[in-house]
């Protein structure tokens, strides 16, 4: 490891420790705010160090830099503006929106790296497996969280929405997703495999979320949050970056525990909520509390 990379790797390790300790401090009201701030310091460090690596190592074009800076400025500006102006009661849908874009970003990274492979190239399993999981999970959480945002804000009806043939459509979409996974892992790269994976996953995210009632939405948002964590971890495998793997896995696991606790607090089970959504359970009780 060169001197620079040593410093960067150690900084990533410090960032990861900040996330873990920060998350741990968020268990109790007293230390929760400091915990979140510690985690944000770790994040700031990771981003700064990444910029330093980018400046020193990468031969990026001027165009690449300009687009990156513009995208980051718009993104940070929009995110901070929304976060500071949102009403307290509207926060859950904003969190869901931020979760959606996180999943979208993970899927975009997967798309970038898949398309970077020469067309028709055979992929190593160590690349194809995480990249397809990244694409599928990222796309599912993107569309699913957008629907959840819509339901919480009232843009989409909060009532469970079902339609004739929903089960059959679900089955078809699941088969298409499985097909895209097999095509990505077992066959050379092909743009249509990628399109199939993304479209089928986006549709699945919608189908999974629309039949669930508004009262159960917070649990669903939490579940999708855990999914996004896993998508980010997979993106970490794809681009070989440990801080993404650590943070993603951490959120994936902690988010799962949180989801179970939220469901338990509502006297519901996660399986019940999701299965209820797919019409196999009693979705009519969705608004009972």
């Amino acid at each position: 490891m060169s001197g620079l990379m040593t410093v960067v790797s150690l900084s990533y390790l410090v960032s990861a420790a900040c996330y873990v300790i920060g998350l741990h401090m968020m268990r109790t009201p007293k230390t929760a705010r400091n915990g979140n701030q510690l985690s944000s310091v770790g994040m700031f460090l990771a981003v700064i160090m990444t910029f330093i690596v980018a400046l020193v190592k990468h031969q990026a074009s001027a165009m690449g830099w300009i687009l990156l800076i513009v995208a980051l400025i718009i993104g940070v500006g929009y995110g901070v503006y929304k976060a500071r102006t949102v009403k307290m009661t509207d926060m859950p849908q904003l969190v869901s929106l931020f979760n959606a874009v996180g999943g979208g970003a993970a899927a975009a990274i997967g798309t970038f790296d898949y398309l970077s492979q020469p067309n028709g190239a055979s992929l190593a399993f160590a690349f194809s497996f995480p990249v397809i999981l990244d694409l599928v999970i990222g796309s599912v959480t993107f569309s699913g969280s957008l629907i959840a945002t819509g339901k919480l804000s009232g843009h989409v009806s909060g009532k469970p929405i079902s339609f004739p043939g929903a089960k059959i459509l679900n089955g078809i979409v699941v088969i298409l997703i499985l097909a895209s996974i097999v095509l990505t892992i077992g066959f050379p790269t092909n743009v249509w495999t990628l399109v199939l994976a993304i479209v089928a996953s986006l549709v699945f995210g919608i189908l999974m979320t629309i039949p669930i009632g508004g009262a159960d939405m917070p649990v669903v948002v939490s579940l999708l949050n855990a999914f996004t964590g896993l998508a980010v971890a997979m993106a970490g495998f794809v681009i070989d970056n440990q801080v993404l793997i650590i943070a993603g896995a951490l959120v994936g696991a902690a988010g799962t525990i949180l989801t179970l606790q939220m469901a338990a607090a509502m006297n519901r089970s996660v399986a019940n909520i999701i299965a209820g959504g797919f019409g196999t359970g009693d979705s009519g009780t969705a608004d009972a509390d």
Partner: protein, 105 residues
Amino acid sequence: MSQELYTNLAIFVLSLLVGFEVISKIPATLHTPMMSGANAIHGVVVVGSILVALEADSPLFYVIAFIAALLGAINVAGGYVVTDRMLEMFSKPKEKPNDDKGGEQ
């Protein structure tokens, strides 16, 4: 299996286990802030966005990289700020919260 993949896999599995243990039982009032805080942490995806953005070299890749960076930045910046606003309520002494918008002090 390459050394690199083994290292990444080990990190992944151990981080999952840390994640399962790190937040034991939490009070219901903290469910939403915790969810929001975890949401901000997966905003680390912006690091990945920066790294791929600088490899872009054609219009298609510029577009994908731009989207990745934009979405990642919204996630990370918005996520931390909104979590901090939620938690502000816990650190204040119990009094009526001022209802001026965005009281970020």
